[in-house]
Structure formats: C-alpha cells, structure tokens
C-alpha cells in the first residue's frame, strides 16, 4: 500500500475543507502544511480533531486501500503530537505506511 506526499496532502486538505464548510470556519477552507490542527492556534476542538482523523482513516481505506489507525501515544502532547500541523500529520501518516510495509 502506498500514497505519494502530494496526494496525501490533497486528501487531508479536502477533508479539512469539508469540515470547514460544515463548521463554517473559513480558516479550514484553504490550508497548507503549516495550518495548525491541534493546540491553542487551531480552529479545531478535540471532537473536530477526532472527526478529522476518522475521516482521513476512512478515505485512505476507501480511496487508496490503505488501512491504518491514526492513534499515537503522544497525540495530545503540545510539543510532540503528530497532529500539531497538517505537515506533521502528512509525515506521520507516510511513516506509518512505511512501517506497515516493512
């Protein structure tokens, strides 16, 4: 199972855009790798973040046949969380896929 970085980034941006439309939050409509997902600078509360993560898991499975669980022991860490920014989430997912393929 594999996905390239650009496609993964686009997938996350699409999910964020849909979430932004649902929540009426303009900051989520046009995101980039630096967009914060977690912490005081983020527009997402913990429930929104959980919904985002489950949506991404579902799309990876449905559209790319990639079955992974985006759980992390440091998920709620303000310094080490892989969910801090869009860019760190992209890298985290690529790492998980690489590990699964090993």
């Amino acid at each position: 199972m594999s996905i390239d970085k650009t496609t993964l980034l686009q997938l996350i941006q699409t999910v964020l855009k849909e979430l932004g439309e649902d929540l009426e939050k303009n900051s989520l409509l046009d995101t980039n790798e630096m967009t914060p997902l977690f912490g005081s600078k983020s527009d997402l509360d913990s429930i929104n973040l959980v919904n985002l993560i489950t949506d991404i898991e579902e799309r990876l499975s449905d559209e790319h046949d990639i079955v992974i669980t985006l759980a992390s022991a440091s998920a709620m860490s303000s310094t080490r969380s892989p969910f801090l920014r869009v860019g760190s989430l992209v890298n985290y997912i690529l790492e998980l896929i690489k590990k699964d393929n090993e």
Partner: protein, 232 residues
C-alpha cells in the same frame, strides 16, 4: 439510521441468546467468535476473529460497514473467566484474561465509536461482573479485568457523549452458562445467598437490561454500571 447490532462472543451462552433475542425483534445482527457459529438466520452475519487482534477488528468492522450498515449498537459480551487462588495464578492467565476482556473491549469500542460518530451516534453496552464489587476470592484477575472495563465505560461515556454515543455496562450475577460450569456448586450457592434477590440470573434478565439500554428513550443514560440481583 441502521438497525444493526454487533455482538461479540455469539457462538454460545449469553452472546448467542442476545443475538437470537435481537433477531427475533427484527434487528440485523453481526456477531463474532474465534470459532465457527451454527447460528443460521437470514439477518445474522458471523465473523470469525479474535477481538484482541487490532488489525482483525479494524478489517472486520470496515467490512460490516461496507457490506451491511454502520453499527448502531455494540454489545461487548465476549469475555473469559478463570478461577484460581491468586498465589497459584500463572502470568499467562492474567495475559489471556486482560487481552480478551480489556484489550478486546477497548478495540471494539474504539473502532465502533468511530463509525457511530459519523453515522449519528449509537449505543455501546459493555459487560462487567459482580465479581468486581463483591471482590470475589478466587477471581482476582477476572475481577480486576472487569474493574478496568467499568473504568473504561465511565470515561468513554464522557468522551463519546458529544458524539451522541452512550456507553454503559451490565454486571450479571452468576448465570447457567459455560463460564460458571467449572465453579464448585457450593461456591455458586454461597454467592447467590449474598444477593438481595437470591436466585441465579437468567439470559432473559440480561436481555431485558439490554432492551432498556437500547430504547430510544434511554438516550440520557450513560456511564452507568447496572448490576443485577440487587448487587451494588
């Protein structure tokens, strides 16, 4: 909303009874066990897997959602017990019991709640036991695993309430099932004598409690541990 209930441990005992009970009430039921089931019904779908196996849980629940419906009710019934003196209990018993009773309940709850959060909510019913509140001697590890399930139930209830998911647990008294057939008769009798209502439980008692927790009107009830027979 779908009317699909997923029940773990449906090959025999309480799980089998609850599966047949919900099928008779028109529910679509998905069930699982490690071995094959001989339950045959047009609305019953059986899956063979170990609930403590993370990848098997994820794969199966995705299949259920894709080929049937999103899960509306999860009944985390599967569990194993072991009776032994604490000093004679091998580490292997601890590992096996916690793997099924705690890890299995956690994995099923986590993956089902993800589905429920995207499909308008749902009900999760876990299984504990009176072995925990009664601190039953000979059941130290089993009771500890059920204490963990109770704690998980209460915290999950808080975290999942914003997603319209209720999480409760049922704590049955001894019931005539395979789980207690190896327990000495005198032990069961003395246990029953300690209950305010002094009789063995029945599968109907459990079905009634599940019906209550599944009722649409029970959407204000979460984080509760419901012991049967008057135990608290």
């Amino acid at each position: 909303m779908s009317n699909l209930a997923f029940i773990t441990g449906t090959r025999k005992g309480i799980g089998r009874f609850i599966a047949e009970h919900l099928l008779s009430k028109g529910w679509i039921v998905a069930g699982c066990s490690r071995r094959n089931s001989d339950l045959r019904h047009q609305n019953y779908h059986h899956f063979n897997f170990d609930i403590s196996d993370e990848s098997a849980v994820i794969k199966t629940l995705k299949t259920v959602k894709k080929t049937l419906f999103p899960i509306k009710v999860l009944i985390n019934n599967a569990g194993i017990a072991s009776m032994n003196h604490l000093l004679l209990t091998p580490l292997e018993s601890y590992e096996t019991i916690f793997k099924t009773n705690v890890q299995g309940t956690f994995l099923m709850l986590r993956e089902t709640a993800k589905q429920m959060s995207r499909s308008g909510g749902g009900r999760i019913i876990n299984f504990t036991s009176i072995a925990n509140p009664l601190n039953l001697e000979g059941e130290a590890i089993y009771a500890a695993s059920k204490a963990a399930v109770e704690s998980l139930t209460k915290t999950a209830a808080k975290e999942l309430a914003p997603m319209d998911i209720t999480v409760n647990a049922i704590g049955p008294t001894p019931i005539e099932t395979d789980l207690i057939k190896l327990v000495p008769k005198e032990k069961i009798e003395s246990l029953v004598k300690n209950q305010p209502i002094q009789r063995l439980g029945t599968c109907d008692d459990i079905a009634n409690t599940i019906d209550f927790l599944m009722k649409p009107e029970s959407n204000f009830i979460t984080g509760q541990i419901l012991y049967l027979g008057g135990i608290n």
